[in-house]
Symmetry: C2
Subunit: 163 residues, 2 copies
């Protein structure tokens, strides 16, 4: 059997979260950016699954924890995390997901399962290269690439065969 990417098979996800938080602290320290408690908590919430989380889902969590939070609280934290490459916004879902390649310079490519909702972030140099080439052929200066692919993840494909 072929290997499966992390989101599509069981794993100790708490380790993902712990690692992501440690990476985030290091990155912020290196960039002289302040990973304040709210920002860190938002990052942790976003990492708690491989499914993207809406801003208002985050807000509901914070509120449930007794934090005194309003929409701008969450959006500000998310903006910060995005600017430092710690989370990505998935435009086609209006939702946010932890960046699996924080610190690395990369163009995110997201495989979004419409059945289970899990999202896998890839780095595909061939894809980035092809996109840059196509943009350059039009004399277009690419600054930001949104690449989101909806479909069925390996696990949900097999399950749907048993319907």
């Amino acid at each position: 059997m072929a290997s499966q990417a992390l989101p599509y098979r069981p794993h100790n996800h708490q380790a993902c979260v712990t690692q992501a938080l440690a990476d985030a602290r290091a990155i912020c320290r290196a960039q002289n950016a302040r990973l304040t408690p709210t920002r860190e908590r938002v990052l942790e919430l976003i990492w708690q699954s491989h499914k993207p989380l809406g801003a208002y889902d985050v807000l509901a969590e914070l509120t449930a924890e007794g934090q005194n939070a309003a929409p701008p609280t969450v959006y500000r934290a998310l903006d910060f995390l995005q600017q430092h490459g710690l989370v990505h916004r998935i435009a086609s879902l209006n939702a946010f997901i932890g960046c699996a390649h924080a610190g690395e310079n990369h163009t995110g490519m997201f495989l979004i399962c419409r059945s289970c909702g899990n999202v896998l972030e890839l780095t595909a140099p061939g894809v980035s290269g092809a996109i840059e080439g196509a943009a350059k052929a039009e004399h277009f200066k690419a600054e930001n690439v949104t690449l989101e692919i909806a479909g069925l993840c390996p696990r949900c494909q097999s399950e749907s065969r048993h319907d």
Copy 2:
């Protein structure tokens, strides 16, 4: 000087619109779909510039024309047009644009100028192929690709040099 894609240079845009409407009628006839007056008018409004139009911009136009329109009116027309491949939704802008390749089977790739707002739709087989390859390598069944590139179009690049 290199050739420039249509949206980036002056042209008889009314001809674009006329052609798009004619194509749309043919496509709908072939698919036995009803391009009703409201649907056709929405398509025409969307085509009236190379900038994407928000659903509420369309709504405002319809209202100004005396049409008795509410949000669902517009969203329903847009859903219809999308389903028949006549318009695309640009997720990163929450806006809609006429499909430049209606009828052709294609994966849209959009070059979005952050300065002038124009959008060019491309078909780049190399890109589609690379994306499909990357998805396949993860055993992911791709169904729908969102590929939107923000940056500066040729014209706006030259203008910014004169600041």
